[in-house]
Amino acid sequence: MTVTIYIPCDSGALALGAGKVATAVSQEIAARGLDAKIVRNGSRGAYFLEPMVEIETASGRVAYGPVSVKDVPSLFDAGLISGGQHRLSLGNPAEIPFFARQTRLTFARCGITDPLSLDDYKAHGGLKGLQKAVASAPAEIVKTVTDSGLRGRGGAGFPTGIKWKTVMEAVSDRKYILCNADEGDSGTFADRMIMEGDPFVLIEGMTIAGIATGATKGFVYIRSEYPHAVATMTHAVEIARRNGVLGVSVLGSPNAFDIEIRTGAGAYVCGEETSLMNSLEGKRGVVRAKPPLPAIQGLFGKPTVINNVISLASVPVIMDRGAEFYKDFGIGRSRGTIPIQIAGNVKHGGLFEAAFGLTLGEIVDDIGGGTATGRPVKAVQVGGPLGAYFPRKLFDTPFDYEAFAAKDGLVGHAGIVVFDDTADMLKQARFAMEFCAIESCGKCTPCRIGSTRGVETLDRIAAGIEPEKQLALVTDLCNTMKFGSLCALGGFTPYPVMSSINHFPDDFRQAAVAVAAE
């Protein structure tokens, strides 16, 4: 029987050499005349073990990692294709602690299946949610999503079901499902992983959204920094069309739905929903004032559901297993699971899907294993470039939308970037302002001008020029940006700045003292 060898094609794995490993493995198979084939799966998300090679044996999967090209001959010598023991043996991947501790609902298949095999998708529970949806009334689907407690995973945390209900009730000749795949936040890669590793789950989720709201057209707006995700999604949509998942009759039902993949052009602000819609319409990616809400007047002026990739990709499991099943996970008003992305200076970086409620300390110290450099953790930034920096003394904060808001932070898209004690928080605060200045769409003054003035003011602190006065000025400026900006770019840039000032005051005073001492 032909043995299947899995080598990821996820871009994180490719960045660590998975492509070269696959070439080397295929050469060994040919040279040794073995009966084996390679399947390029997605990544399971443990990047400290990538490239992770897996073999399908009679007793289940056996993993090896991290594999480099020079390990390949010795792996074959050790009997790789029958799961033989080797220095890099990891055993059954499901039992690796990093995976065993997770609750994989949205990412159930990611890293296990061939991303572009619809048969594989179905064999692992795919399309069950859509099958239920085509047999349900739109209002029932919306109710299931509402009852599940699913909130927008892009960062805002708005209840998904409520958005859908508004669009369902809107009367229009045309409605859209718009998937926001402009995942620009540093420290986040969940959208990329699911699009590269399990694209059909996103297609299924969008199609369910279409049936629920009466929309017949969907767009996935993917950032241009993700060429692999664009390629995989484009290919997956073609396969879905050929197999009747998309098209004039979804799964043989009277519902029509089709999806088009669009590529962004390098503007961070286009992750903001109204800016994204302008961009897709072929305009400058400038933010629109709300109201009107996108659900009433969105893309091309039509009612539009705009959801993040993970929100939409979580819908199939909710439809399949029911609202109660999903709602059972989590704490408080944060229900279900969240794919936490552990990144930056961390020993065990990767994607960890778990129910809401883990503390920040558990995530960073237990799961992440502390810093990669081995130095103490100084700060972790949660929620991307617009998220707050948390010091160790706030590590008891549970991962929950409200709990983070109560500590002047945000869960955002659930990316966590770890910094060791060499981090200079004045520099990080300055970067937050600088990034806002580079990426501002320019529509509102607090963001456009405020960010530049912020950089200048922080530079004066670094130069030791009247630091106390500058700090008061930055605080006042942040207040103006927070309450006066049109969208989250200008409105949330104060989070990293003020959290740096409040939690790491020494970094702002020491700079001044150092200059004064010269």
């Binding site: 871009s11 660590l16 990047y47 920094e225 390098g266 503007a267 072929g282 930056g344 200076n345």
Partner: protein, 159 residues
Amino acid sequence: MAVQPASTEIVSRTSAVINELKGLEGPLLPILHGIQDEFGYVPGESLPVIAEALNISNAEVHGVVTFYHDYRNHPAGRHVLKICRAEACQAMGGDSIAARVQQLLGVGFHETTADGSVTLEPIYCLGLCACAPAAMLDGEVIGRLDEEKLEEIAAEVRS
């Protein structure tokens, strides 16, 4: 350095790209991507052709092209190296990587080497945050950048 095509040729090749894509809903960004794929940059001569075809003003097309970081108004070097400058990469020594790469190539960010071999650009997140610092060379992703890998890249683009 790539030889720039004559303007009549630009117009005809631009029109071909437009004709293929103008049936899309919101066709401007796909058309601009198509033109950049065709020429390696978005030539100034293409803009009035697009404006005419889509029935919008030259100013609108200019406004869109200049809004987005991706579109170039002149050709890049033979290779394009993008170094991630965002927080996760900063946490793993991204600043020293950025300094070293500029030194190795002898150019700053947004610049092309005098021999036209490589254009160096900053990028804000490649989604490779768990294998930082990260870069992209001609569309190929590279993780856990260090001195050795940077030297390999520099040698490769200069050859």
